[in-house]
Symmetry: C2
Subunit: 245 residues, 2 copies
Amino acid sequence: MTAKQTEKQFLKSYNIHDFDVPLTSVDMAIFTLKDEQLQVLLVKRAQHPALGQWALPGGFIDFKKDKVLADAARRKLAEKTGVDTPYLEQVATFGGADRDPRGWSVTITYFALIVCDEVELSGDESSDDVKWVPIKDITNKLELAFDHKQVLAACIERLKNKVQYTSLPVNLLPEEFTLTELQQTFEIILDKKIEKKSFRRRIDDADILEETGNMKTGSNRPAKLYRAKPKGENFYFTRNIEGPR
Amino acid sequence: MTAKQTEKQFLKSYNIHDFDVPLTSVDMAIFTLKDEQLQVLLVKRAQHPALGQWALPGGFIDFKKDKVLADAARRKLAEKTGVDTPYLEQVATFGGADRDPRGWSVTITYFALIVCDEVELSGDESSDDVKWVPIKDITNKLELAFDHKQVLAACIERLKNKVQYTSLPVNLLPEEFTLTELQQTFEIILDKKIEKKSFRRRIDDADILEETGNMKTGSNRPAKLYRAKPKGENFYFTRNIEGPR
DNA sequence: ATAATAGTGTCTATCAGACAGTATTAC
DNA sequence: GTAATACTGTCTGATAGACACTATTAT
């Protein structure tokens, strides 16, 4: 009876493979803003299973390199994009007997928000190809490996929901940006127009930005450039953006 | 090179144990309302590791019984409480090298809301004892196994957050209840008073309850009894409960 | 009648949307 | 000047909190 052993004795005779252990991996939905669209990074699988199919980047935990789960996500992100300080959020974990032909599998899913001009796409041994795909193109046209369409849908839903009451889109813009650019980012993700004055009031009340002192010039009145305040974590509003009435 | 194999050949030679696979389990925070307090179910561990310590109920996936992750959570819940149709929500997944002495481990965490008079607590082989603990008693008094204090904190935070803008507390009440009882449930979880009229307006606008036709009598004016509407999923409000100004 | 709790009427405060107005640049 | 975009003033509308009021029961 195990209860008679010390914990040390127990651990000595313990073998993880005596139990049902699922194949556990981490998958990422890496979002960026490109060509005025919200896009997600897909990789073409270079290995079985689902060889040749497009999939969310992901892979197994590296027991040596990863101390906690988020490390694995950050590592995958850096491998594919070179970006190492993204906004990163765990979304959900999917697990089941039928989602991977290798057997019972679990995937912990994260999404990341990055600035795409800071990215240099790089494939690696596990992918023939890497590309940005506008999320609007993912509906029925494109097949994704495993249950990744469902996984991605969960990430998009989470992102859209949070954009209604947080300042998350700041993470999709470069260091300096105008209020109009920020508003456009919100509009692209929410896929609806926001009233300018409401938007500016909201951002102003949140007190999350500071002027850089620089201006963005164009063929018209220049716009003030802002940056996120240094310790500016993501702000949570108590009311949602509602959109046109 | 794997790319030259068919998927079938690949799967034939595939062995899950050739990779780093963490010890993956499911843990539950089972909440109920008891003695006018929000309480959580803890079990005393009857096995190594952390033998004798209090912990959230949980365990490994059963590849035969569980088709998807939520099945494992539901199964754990039924084993401990006999309840089989709870409100169940996945909260977060914790994983790391140091959270379990057996090695790199991952736990997918769910919370459940149940009605405690429908429960018959039952230990099983893996637990000496099972008990309800008010969440207010969990601060520093009580040690929990592994990182379960942190895990539980995440569940409590999620619950509190969602109670601000959903109708979740309905799931903690029996079939029939009064509006005052429902309000008290919200107040207990949020740990603050809610203005009666605001609360009733909110519930009324949501249109999620129906009168049962019965009344609850006491030493004063009887109160109408309500039940959740049949297809009443949990309602999402667009504004949070704000509490006293 | 009184105590006690159920339930309502209605005021104010807050913040989102609407929309017209002013400001500042390039040309 | 005109065109274009940045930015603001201020009205309306929706919904939360405050709080006093009425309603209905047991005793």
